[in-house]
Assembly symmetry: C2
Homo-oligomer: 161 residues x 2
Amino acid sequence: MLLRNQVEWALHCCAVMVGMPAERFLATKVLAEFHEVPKEYLSKALQSLSQAGIIEGTLGPNGGYRLAKAPSEITFLDVVEAVEGRTSSFACTEIRRNNPCRPTRMRDPKPCAVARVMWEADAAWRKTLRGVRLSDLAKTLESDIPAELAAKNTEWLLARS
Amino acid sequence: MLLRNQVEWALHCCAVMVGMPAERFLATKVLAEFHEVPKEYLSKALQSLSQAGIIEGTLGPNGGYRLAKAPSEITFLDVVEAVEGRTSSFACTEIRRNNPCRPTRMRDPKPCAVARVMWEADAAWRKTLRGVRLSDLAKTLESDIPAELAAKNTEWLLARS
DNA sequence: CGGTTACGGATACTTCGTATCCTTAAACCA
DNA sequence: TGGTTTAAGGATACGAAGTATCCGTAACCG
């Protein structure tokens, strides 16, 4: 049970975009070089974010992506679900119905007890991710990364977009 | 990001074993037929549970598996981790080190901010699973499943083990 | 001794994530 | 206007991991 590496890429791209001046676009090529990941494949992740309304893209020279909303309006869950999907990590196959002792016409008022627990855990996972916004991440990074490096990053990225 | 179907099987097998009289073993073949899943493959999941000390197996006729501990001493997390593993759902590849602006010799006092959030969510997931014991599941099933059917199940399973 | 079972290794099959390529359409620029 | 740059998205190949089966071995029982 492992998340796609695109999830990591998408989150780091968002982290980078938070630090950009508003209205500035970052090209896929530049984001790919900055993170040293394959451009074409990263593009798929960014397309997912775009479709989800998290970022917006524009064409032509100086084109690329930027955040489509305020960083305080974008949660980790938004990003994760955009690339990983919204389906639970646990898929209930209703194995209980295979029980040979079970009357054929028996109905199930409630979902399977095992699935209920697993879905509850999945909900807790999502709740945690929903509780952290991109603005929170920006603040954390501010204390994690030296201001000098942050400035360099911004300069490097904007110079090529 | 989907859990193995063996996780579902393992949990349902545990649910069945909770209802058995102590010291009685259930054969893999019988558990497989009861759930209509491939016997050889289910066997792998049960082996994982056995190695984790959750169930214990014995050889020969009338052999099979039974719980190795009291149901109150076995959590969902124990079962899930036994078959799915203990590694986090998020793998941090330290993508931040690929940053071309970054000084080569720079050290990271803390783990990546993105990873910290993702791991926190993973911890919340595991915490929920750790909070539910097999004895809780048994109690839930008691109210979910008609006593009549539960008795039939036990009879069916023991008659073939 | 012969049959039954857990156990574990080896091996295919299938699905899905990873990655690349190519075409199209839109935006910009000369 | 025409050429360049970029996102968008379809098609395809590759590899890893999950799924599934088969076989040989060792232990247990009648």
